[in-house]
Point group: D2
Chain length 153, copies 4
């Protein structure tokens, strides 16, 4: 693991503030579980109303927490006047998304001036054991605030 | 567009039955909007409680409808005793997900004995105009029911 | 298909000049087969020395022509002092890459200020018939020349 | 790292035999650099005739070694009568592909009955230092030989 130096020491507060504005997180019941430079963890307890036809967590819901964990991992390394947008993501579903709760661990793979690449591993926890169920890799775009906000990549 | 021949003429009923079992769809308020051989459409009205920090629909929620549209597009071509699972998906976010409602149009690109590839275009509708905001491409796995159900790819 | 307006009417000459600098193209024997705003075609005759273990064209060689077709499709819409770099690509291999020759048809899906998304369909031609064997989708980064050249995204 | 148990103790000889049949490897000058259960390394010295317009190794050539490293990583865990085919791959290009030689290190992330997921990290070596320049993730399909050979996924 590379050690990253944050540009803004208030990165954890900025992540918490932005996460609180992601309304989908309250809707599905997920919460921040860890914040460090280049690394963010998001927790989601299993809910029967977020599933596909077999009772597994829907791949899109797995993507909600995996994408935000990757995006906020990049965001921890940004300056205070910068925002993050995902431009693309790939998710490989490795095992059925069954368990008591899910932990998405996002890590920056490559910080960049304009584009960052981050990966998220999603683990399903069941009876005290964690199993890797999905892996996301995403491209994140650094935006200036407020000039570019909402402008898209 | 290729014309596909369904193996089971009851494909539309099977899609509706399976979709009704995807509990996440009721939770986010999405519904089936079209079913044809190799093609499925899913509609999602905008909701302020499904967003990221800028008020755009969260990329994971876009993925919920895009992934299911692709999966059910493949599922329309399956026999009655077969089920579908996504093994991987890639989403390119082309424009901010803002609008009154979102339509995900899934199409089979390549049906296969075991693996199918399908694409979904997601459109945001606003003031009567539709704008392409995201594109998904996914690999779908054909499973036998009930022997393999829940077994993962 | 969207009609794109090029910023620089010399786009075809710029594509030809840049393609001539891609040394890999001469090495594998590929050539430009078509240039239009937002669209570029690249041709590769089959060669037995570019294959994987079954005699199919290697996926990486399919990617050589598919990636360049996507990149040059974006490049046709750039100004004269701009260059293109791929930041990520996804390739779905739909059928074995066998045939007499291969045609990669790249099209811009979304032009953007900084990032473009383009798709390439690769067809294998055999006995006068063309079969879709692969699909690429890629993110292309617009660079300023010469300030940013070689700097990476 | 998970420790994998090979089904066939002759896995290294099988990888070498198959690699020797990948004609593209001799054409571009690449060679096997390491074989272990679930892990394969491929080396490619820089060559000026395998580049894109800036003198960087072409993304498709990076993909040749990255895809084969991932595929053979999965192949090390197969039985003697099984073959491997890539069904899809995603490559993130993290830094310009410049250096004296390139090492692709493929690792199995998830072995599966039918589908495996493997990742490859590609390093550029220059003046004794290695830099991560690309990351691939791919889906590999297990095929029976000879019944399915050439049949595609």
């Amino acid at each position: 693991m590379t050690a990253f130096q944050p540009k803004d020491l208030g990165f954890a507060a900025r992540v918490r503030e932005s996460f609180a504005q992601q309304t989908v997180m309250a809707t599905i019941g997920s919460s921040l579980a860890g914040i460090a430079p280049g690394r963010v963890e998001i927790l989601l307890p299993y809910r029967a109303d977020l599933c596909q036809q077999n009772g597994f967590l829907h791949a899109g819901i797995v993507t909600v927490i995996a994408d935000s964990a990757a995006g906020y991992a990049a965001f921890t390394l940004y300056a205070a006047n910068e925002a993050v947008l995902t431009s693309e993501l790939t998710v490989h579903l490795l095992s059925p998304a069954v368990g008591e709760r899910f932990l998405a661990v996002g890590q920056v793979l490559k910080p960049g001036r304009r584009l960052a690449v981050a990966e998220t591993e999603v683990f399903a926890e069941k009876a005290g054991e964690a199993r890797l169920i999905a892996k996301l890799i995403a491209t994140l775009v650094r935006m200036q605030v407020p000039q570019e906000e909402g402008a898209g990549p």
